[in-house]
Every structure is written in C-alpha cells, then in structure tokens.
C-alpha cells in the first residue's frame, strides 16, 4: 500500500504547497502574515461553485474567474486594511490581528450567504472515476491538483527569478525604502502582490473544493494552520521553500498515518515543525528571515 500512500501524500502535499504559496509571497514582499488567506481561499471555492452552478460555466473558466474574484478580494483587503496600517507604520502585530478580523468577517459573511452546511460541485463537473493500476488508484482531481499546483508554482518562481517584475519584488522584500529610492513603484507592487497571492489562494480553494466535496465557510481555518506550518518550515517568504515544505508536510502526515497512528497525524507534522525550528530557526530554506532580522 506504500505506493498508494505516496500518491495520497503527493496530492495532499501539493494542496498545502499551493495554499502556502500566496501566503508566503505576501510575507516575503509585504512582510505581513495575512491571516485572511484562509478566508480568501474559502471564498475562491464558493466563487467557482456559484459560477458552475448558476452560470453553468465550464470548470476552467470558473476557476479563472474565481482566481480573479479572490484576487480582487485580496486587493480590497490590502487597500482597506493593510494600506492604512502601512501608512501609519503600525507594528508587525497590527496587520496580523487586523487580518484575523477580516477572516472572521468574511467567514460570517459566507455563513450568512451560503449557510453553514457544506456544499459540493455538481456531479459531473469533473470525471469521478479513478485510474487503476492493479491496486493503485489515482483520481482525475488528484492528478489535476498536482499538475496545476506545480504549474502555478513554476510560473511564480519563473516570474520571481527571471523577470524585471520579480527583481523589483525581491528588491522590495529586501528593503521597501531602498526600493522606493530606486524608483520602484512600491505601493503598486504591494497591491499586485496581494492580488496575486489571493488569486493563488482562490485557486487552491477551487482545487480543494473539487477534490474533497466539502466547501464550507469554515474550510479556511484548518488550512490556515497547515499554511502557517508550511511557510515557517519552508522559511518565511521563500517560494521554493513553501513548495518543498508543503510537500514535506503532506508526506509527513500521510506516512504518520500509514506507519505510526492516525491519532498522531497533526502532532507529527507540527512536531517536525518544532524540531526544525530548534535546529534551523529560519526554516529549511530560510534566508529572508535572517536578512530581515
């Protein structure tokens, strides 16, 4: 059953990685832990669901639209909540607490609009059957999650490493003041980052909604916990780190269930986090933190 467990781990890890990607991007560039990322992830899921259910959009289009919608939501959160705090040079804790508030408001709003019950994409939205090789079962969604997560991660990495935009973002991550003096439109790139991060969060929401049939107003919270673990594990603000740490957490959880006990699933994941923090406080790939410190 090991092969099956490795496939389970790969698809779970990809979801964690994809979720953590936007989360870590915002931290890297804005220096903010945006705790509304879970709520935006959840609303992305609902957005695609509404579009598929009511406008009968094909899934790929609904997913793009959901990414756009969550991106705009992220932009709004930045403009309305984070920007005033930036302007006031508020201490680091302020945006964190403020975004907890945003997450609570968005969750209540979703509950009011959609109810507390879990929803799912209509049957037939995606092929339901699984591909079988002997005892090995892989569903279309699992494949889709892994492929789409990797594509989005690689695109983001390429943008950060190979483009002028990426260079500007990395300059901001290094020092917003210096970047501003160099003529970089810091505020504009903050918005762009918030938009892109939220769009990635929305995409993760759609994929999770598709694969687990449980779109609820509360789905963001457990994911947020894993996301925090992943970005700390991977080194705050490090995109490659988030990818690897996400996969790592997925494998840790699944192998714990397979070889230790399902009771310890979360304990082992977070225990590893603790261990790594002891050994290497900046996370597995952390450099940004060291530079920032």
């Amino acid at each position: 059953m090991l092969e099956q467990q490795l496939i389970n781990a790969l698809s779970l890890g990809s979801v964690y990685a994809l979720f953590a990607l936007g989360f870590t991007l915002v931290f890297g560039v804005l220096g903010v832990i945006n705790l509304s990322h879970g709520a935006i992830f959840m609303l992305g899921s609902y957005a695609a669901l509404l579009l598929v259910e009511h406008l009968a959009l094909p899934l790929w289009l609904a997913m793009l639209a959901a990414m756009l919608a969550s991106g705009l939501l992220g932009l709004a959160v930045d403009y309305l909540v984070l920007r005033p705090l930036r302007a006031r040079n508020a201490p680091h804790l302020a945006p964190m607490i403020a975004t907890i508030g945003v997450a609570t408001i968005l969750t209540s709003l979703a509950q009011g609009l959609f109810g507390a019950e879990s929803k799912r994409f209509p049957v037939g939205t995606i092929p339901e059957e699984s591909y079988n090789w002997g005892n090995l079962h892989v569903t279309a969604v699992q494949t889709g999650i892994v492929v789409i997560s990797f594509i989005l991660m690689l695109v983001l990495l390429a943008v950060m490493r190979r483009t002028q935009l990426g260079r500007a973002l990395r300059a901001i991550a290094e020092s917003p003041k210096a970047a501003y003096l160099l003529g970089i439109n810091v505020e504009g790139l903050f918005y762009l980052t918030s938009f892109a991060a939220a769009a990635l969060g929305g995409a993760a929401g759609v994929l999770v909604g598709l694969s687990f049939n449980a779109i609820t107003p509360f789905m963001g919270q457990p994911m947020l916990h894993k996301g925090i673990a992943v970005i700390i594990l991977g080194g705050m603000g490090d995109i490659r780190g988030a990818m690897i740490a996400g996969l790592f957490l997925g494998f840790a959880e699944v192998l714990t269930v397979a070889y230790i006990s399902s009771d310890f699933r979360d304990a082992v994941g977070f225990g590893l986090l603790f261990l790594i923090l002891l050994v290497k406080p900046s996370g597995m790939f952390g450099k940004v933190l060291e530079r920032k410190a």
Partner: protein, 385 residues
C-alpha cells in the same frame, strides 16, 4: 408642569403595563439553547424547527391547560462558553421554566451543571454521549444513547452481510463521535467481532485517503464509522475512489438526507441505527413529516424529530403541573412531573428511564426507546428487514 403630566400619565402607564402582564401571565416560557450558527448549525437549525413546529401545534390546540407555550430561542453557536452564557441568560434573566439544549454533548457537559445548580430542568434532544445525565437530577434527554442503539445496529449488520471482521474510523476530537467510537469498540468486543485497524481523524479534515488506504490494506468486511454526516459522506466517497467496496456501519451521525446529497449512490448498503426514520410509517411520524414539510419546505431529520417530540413530552408533563407563578416551585414541579410522562411521538413510543447510578450523586433521566435499523438503498435509508 412636566412633572404634573408625568404624574397624570403614570397611573395610566401602570394600568397598561398591568394589563399587558395580565395578558402574558399565562405564557409558559421555555428556553431553547441551540447552535444556530457555526459548524453545528445544521443540527441546531433542524432542532429549532422541530421545536417551533411542535410549539405552534400545542398553541393552536389551545396550549396546555389554557397556557400558551412561549419559546425563547438563543444561539449558543455550538460552543461550550456560549452554551454557558445562554443557559445563564435563559435561567436567571428570562426566568424560563426549563431549558432545552444545548445542541452538542460537549456543550451539555459545560452548561448542564448550571441548570442543576439552579434547580432548572436541562432537557437535551441531541446529546447522546455517555454520562450526560449523570450530571444531576435536573438533566433529562430524549436523545437515545448510542449505547442502546449501536449493539442492535451492529448485530443486524453482521447478520445481513455475514461480516467476520471490521475496520473503524472515527473523529477523535469530538465528544459525540468519540463516545460513539467507545460504544462501537465495546460492542464489537462483546459480539466478538475482530477489528482489523482503528483510524482517527480530526475536525476539519477533508482528506481521509491516508487512513482509508490503511484500512484497505487491512481488508475488513465492513467499515464502522463514528462520524458526523458530512465527514461520513466524504469518507464513503473516498473509499470508492480507492476501489473499496465495503459497506459502512454507523450511528446517529449518519442519519441525515445530507449523507446522500454528497455521497449519492456510493452510500448504498450503509447500515445505520437510529430512534427515528422517515420510513417509519406510524400515524404520529407521518403527521410530523407532513407538517414539517408544509412549514419549512424541506424534509425533516432525526434532530428535528427529537426536538419535536421533546416539546410534546414537556407539554404532556405540564398538563399534570399546577403552575403557581412562583418560578422556583414551578421548575421543581415540572422536574417531578417529567419522569412519568410517556408519549407516542414521531420517534415512536417514548418513556424516561433513570440514568445509571453514580455514587454520591443524584442522576437524571435517559430515553427508553426502541432503535430502528435502516439500510441505504437508492440514495435513502429504508428499514432493514
């Protein structure tokens, strides 16, 4: 001048207030603490609907001994802390004659001691965990304990499918699913059915594939699931995606049309024991289902049925209580009248049974009711024959 006006108006106001309170004096205030928001809202809302429906019926028929029943409904959000707050409000501020709820067993363990200390009946309609009624003589429930239902269910499932060994999956951080697991474990040991592996998950988990892959490798004849509906539905779907065909055995948590909204036909052959079934065609149940559909436009579930019955149980008890208006006395009179009530409700014949004794402590009353064993066919539960 102004004072004069006030003085002139005052007697009039007092008279008006007097009249008002006279008109309301015959209202019997019953508190309901239910989880109307939050993850447990799906149960809490069904419970609220069941109570409103029954209260409307009783009032439409002239009330109890001429007194109208007035429900005071508060949202406890499925949280312990809120359940405590709501119980305090209903008992000390609203002076409710009794308090129904709270929705989750977790919350009942937190809030019921307050009612017992204040000598007010706390009447649970959905608390099935062990030990709820051990909290004190003012704790009552009409929710049938898993300990009564699951042995009957398991025996029926074993016979129906010829099961030799089972695997278990359950939520380990929820009082209801954990207590269901404990009962299943004891039941399987009693009935000498080996357990191939026991897997757990946590609240909020949506990916159960790791646990299910392990269960698959242990090759059981059936999977016992002490889960809430939505988790159960996803667990069933994910087993099918892993190429597993085993039937499921579950308790109260699976008893909801929601199971098939999500799992569709994949849920077929699931065996579930419950005190209530939509397929139980007694006149009382048929009338309940029809009235519920007419009022709320949707199918009732077990939680609505038990809430509905609970109000009729209390109405039956109130028939034998002479209300004096002294709230402390009336509360105790109601507590003394409740144990002897028997009704024929939506969930069938109902009576109370004194909870198992606890040394040095007075205990409350559990439900004495028959379990109905159902099997899922074509996306709904039918009676297992």
């Amino acid at each position: 001048m102004q004072l004069n006006t006030i003085l002139k108006t005052l007697p009039l106001l007092m008279l008006a207030a007097g009249l008002c309170s006279a008109a309301h004096a015959a209202d019997v205030k019953l508190g309901l603490a239910a989880a109307l928001t939050g993850p447990a809202a799906k149960y809490g809302v069904a419970i609220k609907n069941g109570f409103s429906l029954a209260a409307d019926e009783v009032n439409a028929a002239g009330g109890v001994n001429g007194n109208k029943l007035q429900l005071i409904i508060e949202d406890e959000q499925g949280k312990k802390e809120e359940a405590i707050n709501v119980f305090k409000k209903l008992i000390f501020k609203d002076k409710a004659l009794l308090v129904f709820g709270p929705t989750l067993s977790n919350s009942a363990f937190a809030a019921d001691p307050i009612a017992n200390a204040a000598k007010v009946v706390a009447f649970g309609t959905s608390n099935t965990a062990d030990g709820i009624t051990a909290m004190g003589p003012f704790t009552f429930r009409n929710s049938v304990m898993e300990a009564d239902v699951l042995p009957v269910t398991t025996r029926a499932a074993v016979k129906h499918f010829g099961i030799k060994k089972v695997a278990i999956i359950y939520g380990n951080d929820d009082a209801f699913t954990k207590s269901g697991y404990d009962v299943f474990k004891a039941t399987l040991a009693n009935q000498k059915i080996p357990v191939t592996t026991t897997e757990a998950y946590a609240k909020g988990d949506v990916d159960f594939k790791a646990q299910l892959t392990k269960i698959k490798a242990s090759n059981p004849d059936a999977i016992v699931c002490s889960c809430l509906t939505e988790e159960a539905a996803n667990i069933i779907l994910q087993t099918r995606a892993l190429g597993m065909k085993q039937p499921f055995i579950g308790g109260n948590g699976l008893n909801s049309p929601k199971l098939f909204d999500i799992a569709k036909g994949a849920g077929d052959d699931t065996i579930m024991g419950s005190p209530w079934s939509s397929e139980n065609l007694t006149p009382a149940n048929k009338a309940f289902i029809a009235a519920y559909k007419a009022k709320f436009g949707s199918d009732p579930d077990q939680f609505a049925a038990q809430a509905y019955d609970a109000l009729h149980v209390v109405a039956a008890a109130l028939k034998n209580v002479k209300l004096t208006g002294a709230i402390d006395k009336d509360r105790i009179a109601l507590q003394q009248a409740l144990p002897s009530v028997t009704i024929e409700g939506a969930t069938g014949k109902f009576a109370f049974r004194k909870a198992p004794p606890v040394t040095g402590k007075e205990v409350g009353y559990d439900a004495q009711q028959e379990a109905i064993v159902n099997i899922a066919k074509g996306g709904k539960f039918v009676l297992l024959k």
